[in-house]
Structure formats: structure tokens, C-alpha cells
Symmetry: C2
């Protein structure tokens, strides 16, 4: 038995998210179908993180146990939709686990801030036509950094998380022309946390919420955030081990 570690990129627009589901059509389903074809039996693909429908990945990570040897990258890519690509495949230690060994993740969120969304950004960025105050957004982003209880920035998915404390090492903002890129690095993220944090940052940048609204949410005195940025602009950039 060999444990393989995969680095995977996908354009999420055509998939129902990462996690396998009854109707199929998820990235995990496509990967497991490719392994089943190549191995002649069911192989479970363990991903580092679930991404929602429409969310993209530049560097999703996964592990699988296989009994055969082959040129896995070529074989897998030959059996996958072209919008999913295995970029790297290496032999991992037997105790490596894509999800549990991860020390952190980097997500990026792309916002197109201009009157007209480029046709080449369709489904790949959040289009916000109105003015955004970048300096306010940057200040608000800094308030997210550090170790906090992020309960206000978590959506419900079945049973609630027991521990909602996470450490966000950094939130950076880069602007180039109409494109604003937010980069979130943290030891872990709750369900929809990046989209809810982005939504809160955008509200401050639009002047619809004060900069200190972030601190109020983190202090647990403002209930739950409900304004989530759309899936289109979200990318799982990297999993840190």
C-alpha cells in the first residue's frame, strides 16, 4: 500500500463543491471515479478542506492509498474533466493525512471593483461596481488577525463546531487596477468563514458598517454575520503542512 499526496487545482464553476454527494458532480466524485477506473476498485480520496459549490482551488491537497504503481499525474489527468488538474503527485508517509496533518491554509478572495465586470472574470471574482474605501477595508482586515473566537463568522452546517477559536496569521489586501485580492492565512477556517469575513470587510469598505464592527463581532456582542461574499471569488490557494 502506498499513500499518495496530490496537489489539485480546479475551476469550481462547473462542480458542486469538493465533497462527494449522492448525485455526484463534485470534485471528490470525479477524482474517485478516476481512481476507480485506474485501480479497478473504490478508492477514497481524502481532501484537506471542503470547498463549496463554485469555489475554486489553486492548491487543494488530498491523500489516497493505492496498491498499484503508475504515472499517476498523467493517468489521473487523462481521466478527469479538464477543469480539474492534478498538478503534483508524491509518495507520502503512511501517517500523512491531508486534513489532519494540515497546519494551516491560505485562501484568496478576488473582488472586481469597477463599473463593468470583464467577461474574463465571470465566475472568478465578486463584482462590486460601487466605490470601496480600501484604507477602511485594510484597517478592518487587521482587526481579524490574531487568535479569536470566530463563532460570529461561521455558518451552520449540520451540528455546530465545538471549538470556534482560530488563529488568523494575516489578512492582506492587494489592489491592482479594478482587482482587489484579499489573502487570508490561518491555522483553520470555519464553514463559510472566509466568505463571511470578506462580506464584513466589504460592508466596512462600502461605509455600511463601522471599522470596529469586526471587533464587535469577534467579542461576541453582535450576533452572527449573515452577509457572505459569493463563491465566485473564493480560491483555496494553499494548504500548509
Amino acid at each position: 500500500m502506498t499513500r499518495l499526496r496530490l496537489l489539485i487545482a480546479y475551476e469550481g464553476g462547473g462542480f458542486k463543491g469538493w465533497q462527494s454527494q449522492a448525485g455526484g458532480g463534485t470534485v471528490q466524485d470525479h477524482l474517485e471515479a478516476a481512481f476507480a477506473t485506474l485501480c479497478g476498485k473504490r478508492v477514497v480520496v481524502h481532501g484537506a478542506g471542503r470547498t463549496d459549490s463554485g469555489v475554486h482551488a489553486l492548491g487543494q491537497c488530498a491523500h489516497v492509498d493505492v496498491e498499484r504503481e503508475m504515472d499517476w499525474i498523467t493517468a489521473l489527468n487523462g481521466n478527469l474533466p479538464r477543469a480539474i488538474r492534478v498538478l503534483r503527485c508524491t509518495r507520502a508517509r503512511a501517517d500523512f493525512h491531508a486534513r489532519f496533518s494540515a497546519k494551516g491554509k491560505i485562501y484568496t478572495y478576488r473582488i472586481w471593483n469597477g463599473p463593468i465586470l470583464s467577461p474574463f472574470e465571470l465566475g472568478r471574482a465578486w463584482h462590486l461596481a460601487g466605490p470601496l474605501n480600501i484604507e477602511l477595508m485594510r484597517s478592518a482586515a487587521r482587526a481579524l488577525e490574531g487568535t479569536h473566537d470566530f463563532q460570529a463568522f461561521a455558518a451552520n452546517r449540520g451540528k455546530p463546531e465545538k471549538n470556534t477559536t482560530r488563529t488568523i496569521a494575516s489578512v492582506s489586501l492587494h489592489k491592482k487596477g479594478p482587482l482587489i485580492t484579499l489573502r487570508f492565512q490561518g491555522n483553520g477556517f470555519l464553514y463559510k468563514m472566509v466568505r463571511l469575513m470578506t462580506g464584513a470587510l466589504v460592508k466596512t469598505a462600502q461605509g455600511r458598517a463601522p471599522v470596529d464592527s469586526i471587533a464587535t463581532y469577534l467579542a461576541g456582542s453582535a450576533g452572527k454575520c449573515s452577509f457572505a461574499a459569493p463563491a465566485d471569488g473564493l480560491y483555496l490557494s494553499r494548504v500548509l503542512y
Copy 2:
């Protein structure tokens, strides 16, 4: 009557090229349908250049004559598929003609030269996995510059062009990571000329043709080029007036 000049971008993947055709589904068809809705009658949209099925535009230009006044950009974009965007709309002189007033055009061609095509480049670049000699390609590109009879770099489209002499002001090559961008500026381009020139440049870069094959084609002593680069990587970047 007011003549409008439009600057248009489109992701060509979902369209059957620029030029109106019986079955519809072209960029011109979509624009004319939007004008018909807004004007209550048929309006002809004159484009600067026809682009083939799957070819993209960052800056296609067109003119139309209208009798009404309105916020045309907003009205048109509200009636167009999101993969076609009117970026600018200005009042033009009565003698302005998108095609006949054009002094030149800039096309870009994107090549992804790496083992695995990024899922985000699907339909937007030509994937060439094998090695390319960039310096050979640059030398071959220089041979295309100047005023030449480009008959060898023209595909047939109905009746042949009477005059196949064109002036290519520059062909530049830019490489960043796996992405190679060719930029062709000229006073005019024959049918499929950019794709045939790109095909010939790639053949030299692959070592499948000598650098002086370009000169041989231009001298008319090598017949017609037949190796055309695919539509995916081609962009009409700008029309010069």
C-alpha cells in the same frame, strides 16, 4: 441620427464568432438583438474585424446608427450575455466607420507552455506541453515584421483577397512563467493570418521548421502555411484609428 462608437470585450468560447449568421449565436447577433430590443427596430452593428468562433476580444470596435438617446452602456449590457460587455460608448463623427476608418489592429496570442494546462486557462490559451525554443521563436517573429505579401499566411474564405500585402509594424514575444504572449501589430490582417503566423512560429520553436522558413513563405516559394494555431489563444486586443 447619431453614430455611436462601441468598445466591446467578449470571452469568445460560447459564441460562433463575430459575424452574424443564419442560426444566430454570434457576437454581432447578440448585439443586434440588444439594439433591436432597445430601438424597436433592426439596427446593423458594423464591427472592425470578424473574429472566428472561439476567438476572444479585449477591444473589438463597432459603430451603429441610432435615433434615440439613452445610457447605452447600461442598456446594452443589461440586454447582452454576461460574456459580452460594452466597455465604452461614445458619439462618433458621421463619417467614422469601424472597419474602414481603422488604421491597424493589435492581436495577442497566448500560449501555455508547461506540462499541465491550468484549469483557469481552458479555452483561453493554446496548450503546448513540449519544449519551445523562445530565442528561435523571437528570431522567426522578427522575420514577419515589415511590409510583405502575406498570401502564404492567408486561409481561403470564399473569394481570395485581391491585395495580400500587409505591413506588420511589430511582433513581440513576452514570457512569464509558462505563459508566452505574442503581440502582433499591423495595418491589417488576412483571414486566419495571426493563427497561421503563430503556427509557423511555434513550428520553428519546436525545431520542426528552420527559422528561415518564415522568409521562404514570405518570398512565395513555399506554398501556403496550413498549420494554424487554435482559436482558444487568440485575442483581438485593440483597433487603432
